[in-house]
């Protein structure tokens, strides 16, 4: 499904394709016309993708075909072994995790998992975890600590599931516990915000030494739609809320909420997932290299200081 703001680009691409086919079928020389349209296309792409609004980026962050956690684990890592279950209640398909190698180094990985189509999305609850998902994540944090392997997480959730079943099983409690458990890791922890970073449900697995974000991903305390519904009393004002929340990668870098931005291919990661995943992998390796050599205690202190200084207030 094309995004609304991309329609003029797709329309132009279609016309170029048509001209090329006509030229081939009829033998008429349309080179000049085609070149002209291609120049216009390049210009249009530059204008559109070079000036994305926050709301347009939110749409890119949700675009179908954007790399999910499992895509990243399959393509950037080797020999991923998925581990299931929280050892208490159930296995939550909205969070995946397990053991893997990153360029030969042993790591433990966890991430939110959205479906790649509607059917899988229903099965994965649109990447909205229940308490058992966070308990699975905490179990894997224990594993990382026990063996001293780096702990890597991938964030892509609209938020933790807001439903009766989740509340009954202590959604708030497990999110708090997961934040605490992750903050106490004595191994290097790195988070990548892949797509959507929705509120506490995202933060629960994002208390890392370094937090990286893909160029068009967003991360905030609330989704633009919910924010608009509350503050503007109309979810349709989401574009305004997206603007006000300062939720883009660049804004978050300025607020020091993230440490680095991973570039995406023109038009978003879904246009060339392999390329996006390659960029992500390079950024991960570089970040892990930076954390190498820190003692377990230094890693804990580094993470503590990273979050301790976040916020804006005035002394009296």
């Amino acid at each position: 499904m094309p995004l609304e703001f991309e329609k003029p680009i797709l329309e132009l691409e279609r016309r170029i394709q048509e001209l090329k086919e006509t030229a081939k079928a009829t033998g008429v020389d349309l080179q000049a016309e085609i070149r002209l349209l291609e120049e216009r296309l390049a210009q249009l792409k530059k204008e559109t993708y070079g000036n994305l609004t926050p709301w347009q980026r939110v749409q890119l962050a949700r675009a179908q075909g954007r790399p999910t956690t499992l895509d990243v684990l399959e393509k950037a890592f080797q020999d991923f072994l998925e581990l299931h279950g929280d050892r208490a209640f159930a296995d939550d398909p909205a969070i995946v995790g397990g053991l893997a190698y990153l360029e030969g180094e042993k790591v433990v990985v966890v991430g939110h998992q959205k479906g790649r189509d509607t059917k899988e999305n229903l099965q994965r609850n649109f990447g909205m975890p229940h308490p058992e998902g966070y308990r699975k994540a905490m179990r894997l944090m224990d594993l990382a600590d026990r063996f001293g392997y780096p702990f890597l997480t991938f964030v892509d959730t609209p938020g933790a599931y807001p439903g009766v079943s989740a509340e009954e099983r202590g959604q708030a409690w497990v999110i708090a516990q997961s934040i605490q458990r992750m903050s106490r890791l004595r191994v290097p922890a790195v988070t990548v915000i892949l797509g959507e970073g929705g509120s506490g449900g995202a933060l629960a697995i994002a208390v890392a030494n370094r937090v990286l974000i893909l160029e068009n991903a967003w991360y905030s305390v609330i989704s633009p739609e919910s924010c608009a519904a509350i503050l503007w009393r109309d979810a349709k004002e989401a574009p305004k809320a997206a603007e006000a929340l300062k939720l883009t990668a660049k804004d978050l870098l300025a607020q020091k909420v993230v440490d680095a931005v991973i570039p995406e291919p023109e038009g978003g990661a879904h246009k060339d997932p392999d390329r996006a995943i390659q960029n992500l992998k390079e950024a991960l390796l570089k970040t892990l290299e930076e954390l190498k050599g820190l003692s377990p205690e230094a890693l804990y202190q580094d993470r503590y200081r990273r979050f301790r200084r976040l916020g804006a207030y005035a002394e009296p």
Binding site: V164, A172, W173, F307, G311, A312, P316
Partner: protein, 285 residues
């Protein structure tokens, strides 16, 4: 001393009305209650036992031993994102500050509680729905640090609709900051008690409030992660009776005790005395 000053600041400046309302009405059963009696009864309806929301100053007076409270909270909020919805955040802040006489949604300081040295932090629902932005997060972190440095217990009375939306990601980060600051208490074996009052939801429940050594909840208090309105929208059906109320949470194992406000201090003191390694055995105190 400090408390008297707080009360004075809050008192409305003498307006036109000479006789203030002497009576108040219970929100639950509608009973007419003499205001003085209502206040002495800690805002609990003497007829039906309904626990009404309570001003932060009165919370402090109710928990701190008389004459021991020294206020420490004084940070002022900024508007780091220049947030504007239907009204600028900066204007909203001014309005809340005017209404409550407080820089932000938290009142706290050092005191003794049943003789146990403590840092007491009380969230103020009247200020922006008790929402946690940078100031609330920082005051809680500093409160935990002070408690650890001075060998005090930490007591937090939560009342909050969640995170402060107008500080966006920075308010989200306060969840991590407050949680991490609790480690200082762990390291020194100092007790942390939280009291969840009506309402405690969102990022406050899902961070420091849920991680206390002992968690009290007030009867009937709404406590949870998502608000009932959001959940109703998600599942598109009515919520079960008593859902997300304190008693529901006790039943599901999320809180230690649901305690009537009129017994709350006694039970908080008991918990603190049991836990604090510096307090000797003294039954029935």
């Amino acid at each position: 001393m400090a408390l008297e000053r707080l009360f004075r600041r809050k008192r409305p400046s003498g307006g036109g009305r000479d006789v203030p309302e002497l009576w108040t009405k219970c929100e639950a059963c509608g009973a007419q209650i003499y205001k003085k009696e209502f206040q002495e009864n800690l805002h609990v309806c003497p007829k039906c036992g309904h626990h009404h929301r309570m001003p932060a100053e009165e919370r402090v007076a109710m928990l701190a031993d008389p004459g021991t409270f020294q206020e420490t909270t004084r940070l002022r909020p900024l508007d780091p994102l220049g947030f504007v919805d239907t009204k600028p955040y900066a204007e909203r802040l001014k309005a809340y500050q005017g209404e409550t006489g407080r820089p932000d949604a938290i009142l706290g300081g050092t005191c003794a509680i049943g003789g146990v040295p403590a840092v007491l932090l009380v969230m103020d629902y009247a200020f922006a729905g008790g929402s946690m932005g940078s100031v609330v997060g920082e005051e809680i972190a500093r409160g935990a640090e002070r408690a650890a440095e001075e060998g005090r217990a930490l007591v937090i009375v939560a009342a909050s609709g969640g995170a402060r939306m107008q500080e966006a990601a920075l308010s989200l980060m306060q969840m991590a900051k407050t949680v991490m600051s609790l480690d200082l208490l762990w390291g020194k074996r100092l007790p942390y008690v939280s009291v969840l009052t009506d309402p405690t939801t969102g990022g406050v429940t899902a961070s420091f409030a849920a991680l206390a050594d002992v968690i009290f909840a007030e009867p009937g208090a709404l406590i949870g992660f998502a608000g009932p309105r959001v959940i109703r929208q998600t599942i598109r059906q009515e919520l079960p009776e008593g859902f997300q109320r304190a008693e529901f949470l006790l039943k599901h194992g999320m809180v230690d005790r649901v305690t009537d406000r009129r017994r709350l201090k006694r039970e908080v003191v008991q918990a603190l005395r049991h836990l604090h390694p510096g307090v000797p055995y003294a039954p029935g105190v």
